[in-house]
Amino acid sequence: MKILNQDETRRISDKVLSLCKADECVVTINGARTGNVRYARNAVSTAGLVEDTQLSVSVAFGKKQGTASINEFDDKSLEKVVRRAEDLARLAPENPEFMPTPDKQAFRASSTFSEKTAAIDPEYRAQVAAYSIEQSRKNKLVAAGFFTDRTSFETVANSRGVFGYQQQTGVDFTCTVRTEDGRGSGWVRRDANDVARFDPRAASDIAIEKALRSVDAKALEPGRYTVILEPAASSDLMAYMFFDFDARSADEGRSFLSKKGGKNRLGDKLFDEQVNIWADPWDKDVPVLPWDSQNLLARERMDLIKDGKVANMNYSQYWAKKQGKRAVGQPGNIIMAGGSKSTEELIAGTKKGILVTRTWYIRMVDPQSVLLTGLTRDGTFYIENGKIKHPIKNFRFNESPVTMLNNIDELGRPEVLSGDESPFQMLIPSIRVRDFNFTSLSDAV
């Protein structure tokens, strides 16, 4: 597949906009080439390449909207897709909450593209798998892993002069290494937009070391413990909380950010004052597109939690207008301030506690308190007097990230990662928290 350049997508979007007879028109063109290799049982199980390109046209007549798409780009096809979108809009009912598409605005480019990542080939992918397989075999371990790379582009344009084009690249790697007898398991995750920042050997070695150290886990009684959560262990918990940073839900009384009596908690100190979290599309470690593809609004650097206080919430265009606020593009990344210590240094400063490598299958139990349940996995260790003393069996937890971020002891050095189930690129530290609530034991290794 050809990755279309800016001039090519501008020509297509200009043509589409000139053909449209509706009151408003939005054009999105995106395409991606995604390669992957998956391995398990010390052998490659699948490997592949997927290519796809799409053109989407959304139009509005007054408050009636319609959307259509096509994957052909000749003039006849462009006209066809515009007419189809217009036909659908005419059939749709009016949406009283309809908001017009944004006026022309500038998008300041972010560094989301790396030539080296775009040049990844099947040999490179196979080599990533080969290293962890070979090292695992040498150590009488069994590796399972997944490496994927993606090169993509996106153009957004509308009938009010908005235009944005950017290319993106990224690699994601996860690897689970288990002992042959299934008594030990270790895991690692690495994400980067530039493959030059990814070291498959170093990553695999972490999973191998954790697998070897995790054999013969002892059972610890469920209860409240001081816990060091590695970044991958807390990322999904925090992502759940940020899904609820919607101003409308808070104002309407159906969010943890709602207050008795019908107000929201903007400005309230809900977290430990060490907690500072923001979004920034231009961050050098976790750059994301400088626009929100949903509504074509520019993203901005935005504090979400400042010194433990709720600093901002997300406003849709409709709710912003109703509440007299300004709508901006919704965050694509989550960045949390940390300290300078490595996870090992946090461990060294812990008298008694538990190290959690990874959390798993997190689900909302009570949205009122953002109570989440889930489990630890692939490397859970007991710490005593600054050292890992022995591996322990996995726990189920029932805990709220709001409570967790109130019980912070110390923050480590932030690391880049993507959540398993969240849309955010993240830069978050290891966190040592008090009184983390484990409610039962799991026999799973």
Binding site: R41, T46, T174, N295, S400
Partner: protein, 545 residues
């Protein structure tokens, strides 16, 4: 694992939407006309010829056209109506004993032939890392055949306005009955899948599915408390006739606490009940933690079955192919080989069935061209079989695949996915009201709530939508803040009673996630109302201020 799979979908200017759906939007009239079978066959032949010439020992080609329509509403407003389409070709090969896969949305003879050659190159690049060559169980070529989901009313022909009005009527009913807010959605799916392989199969299939989820939210602004009640319907493989509610499909829950549905669904009636029940949940008694006998309704129990039996008996998990993501399984080969691993009590019988009418996993053929079938997984409480694909069958001594291969898109590689896995109804005549009579201290749980299980399927925690206290054989009052925790084997061995086939019905999920890259699959699980004795219940109420 049931995952939340969210993809952002372009919307004209209607604000941000997060909608779980694949593909891009298309116009209404384009939905009805399928691709010509002859064209699909020519593409498939081009790919298979190119793959064979490049050195593949096996090749299969999947040509897919995936159509969805979804309508989202909030209170009395329609937020969006979107038609989506995704189409393209996926080519899988075996070369030098290894798999290779390439997918492209360019549907020309040259493009698919090139994809096939690239797939062979990928297979060869990875062959050096194989510990043993791929071994496919034999499949008899089906020739040129077709299969389609039976339905009487095509969702594609029902006017959008009529569907939107139905959702708005449901939202109004919920709000009139006590909900502060209502959100409802209508998912409609049509998957046109063409499969061809060098075994001599050319299989054209047409699937139709439907789901109408909603959430009623009640808010007490004075106390700052809010509670929700989700719909009690299940997604189905049916046409739009599912929404023409028939009186004979309405089921009175034990104690008459609510109405349940099987065969068709009265959305407006359920939304009305949800509005009332969401409000009731604001003042429900907070549960006292401890051991209870649980009476679990099928539209709740399906998810417990899915997680603790469905996923645990997937052979790829057992073998370690999912170790890096979805996990492995406690149901290891040695337990199966022993022929005496007591997975559950003696009344527990599970079967896998790809033929159950209206079930989400109902197909004519799987994505390796294997005809749909039925088999036992747990018999009289003992683990007797797994779920397998062509490359796994020999491991468990089977001569042919179970037909469990599935891919969620033309652009995804097919792999092992669970069939419908269902708990058979009790052999003795028993109705839910009679079951409750035997419970001294228990909780009756209805509807799906939160759910989580560990990566080997031992430790789980489940919530629900509605909870009722059972005291001395009677349902007494609604409860709140309920979740139960158990170990899978302990739980199924605590199964003491199940209602008979009159009460048997299915729940299901559109978005069962697994694999890397992650894919979703639609699957159903049936049961009748079932009792489990002495299960640990926790109280989930917390304060954050």
């Amino acid at each position: 694992m049931e995952r939340r799979t969210f993809l952002k979908v372009s919307a004209a200017a209607g604000g941000a939407l997060l909608i779980p759906v694949f593909g891009e939007a298309i116009a209404e009239e384009q939905l009805i006309n399928p691709m010509a079978v002859a064209f699909k066959k020519s593409l498939a032949d081009a790919a298979m010829n190119a793959a064979t010439k490049a050195g593949a020992s096996y090749c299969d080609v999947r040509i897919g056209r995936y159509l969805n329509q979804f309508i989202t509403t909030r209170d009395l407003n329609v937020e969006n109506i979107v038609n989506t389409e995704s189409s393209g070709v996926g080519v899988r090969v075996v070369a030098n004993g290894a798999y290779g896969f390439v997918a492209t949305n360019v549907m020309t003879l040259d493009a698919v032939a090139d994809a096939a050659r690239q797939a062979v190159a990928i297979a060869k690049a990875n062959a050096r890392l194989q510990s043993e060559p791929v071994r496919l169980a034999p499949v008899k070529g089906a020739g040129e055949v077709a299969w389609a989901t039976p339905f009487t009313k095509d969702w594609r022909t029902v006017p959008v306005k009529e569907k939107a009005e139905m959702l708005i009527a449901a939202n109004k009913a919920g709000m009139d009955a006590g909900a502060s807010f209502m959100q409802s959605m209508l998912f409609q799916v049509n998957q046109q899948k063409y499969f061809a392989s060098t075994d001599g199969s050319y299989i054209d299939q047409d699937f139709h599915r439907l789901w109408v989820p909603f959430t009623a939210t009640a808010v007490d602004k004075a106390s700052g408390k809010f509670r929700t009640r989700d719909g009690l319907s299940s997604p189905v493989s049916m046409g739009y006739e599912f929404l023409d509610a028939k009186p004979q499909h309405k089921i009175r829950a034990a104690g008459g606490v609510t109405t349940l549905y099987n065969g068709s669904y009265d959305l407006v009636e359920d939304a009305r009940a949800a509005g009332r029940q969401a409000k009731e949940k604001l003042t429900a008694k907070s549960v006292e933690p401890g051991k209870y006998d649980l009476v679990l309704s099928p539209e709740h129990l399906f998810l417990t079955i899915h997680e603790s039996v469905g996923h645990a008996t997937e052979l790829d998990r057992v073998l370690g192919y999912e170790a890096n993501y979805a996990g492995t399984s406690f149901a290891t080969l040695d337990k199966w080989e022993s022929k005496k691993f007591q997975y559950g009590s003696k009344i527990v019988n599970f079967e896998a069935d790809k033929n159950t009418p209206a079930s989400l996993g109902c197909v004519g053929y799987d994505d390796e061209g294997v005809p749909a079938k039925r088999w036992d997984i747990i018999r009289d409480g003992v683990l007797v079989n797994y779920q397998a694909t062509r490359d796994q069958a020999h491991i468990i001594g089977e001569k042919e695949s179970h037909g469990c291969s599935f891919a969620d898109s033309w652009s995804s590689v097919q792999f092992q996915r669970m069939p419908n896995v269902s708990l058979k109804a009790g052999r003795k005549k028993l109705a839910p009201d009679e079951m409750v009579k035997d419970v001294k201290k228990g909780i009756y749980i209805l509807g799906r709530g939160s759910y989580s299980i560990d990566q080997q399927r031992y430790n789980f925690q489940f919530g629900g939508q509605l909870f009722y206290e059972i005291k001395d054989g009677k349902i007494t009052q609604p409860l709140g803040d309920v979740a139960y925790q158990a170990n899978t084997q302990d739980f199924w061995n605590a199964c003491t009673a199940m209602c008979d086939e009159r009460d048997w019905r299915m729940g299901g999920s559109f978005f069962d996630g697994k694999g890397q890259p992650s894919q979703v699959s639609a699957v159903s699980h049936g049961s009748s109302t079932t009792r489990f004795n002495g299960i640990n219940v926790i109280n989930t109420a917390r304060k954050i201020d």
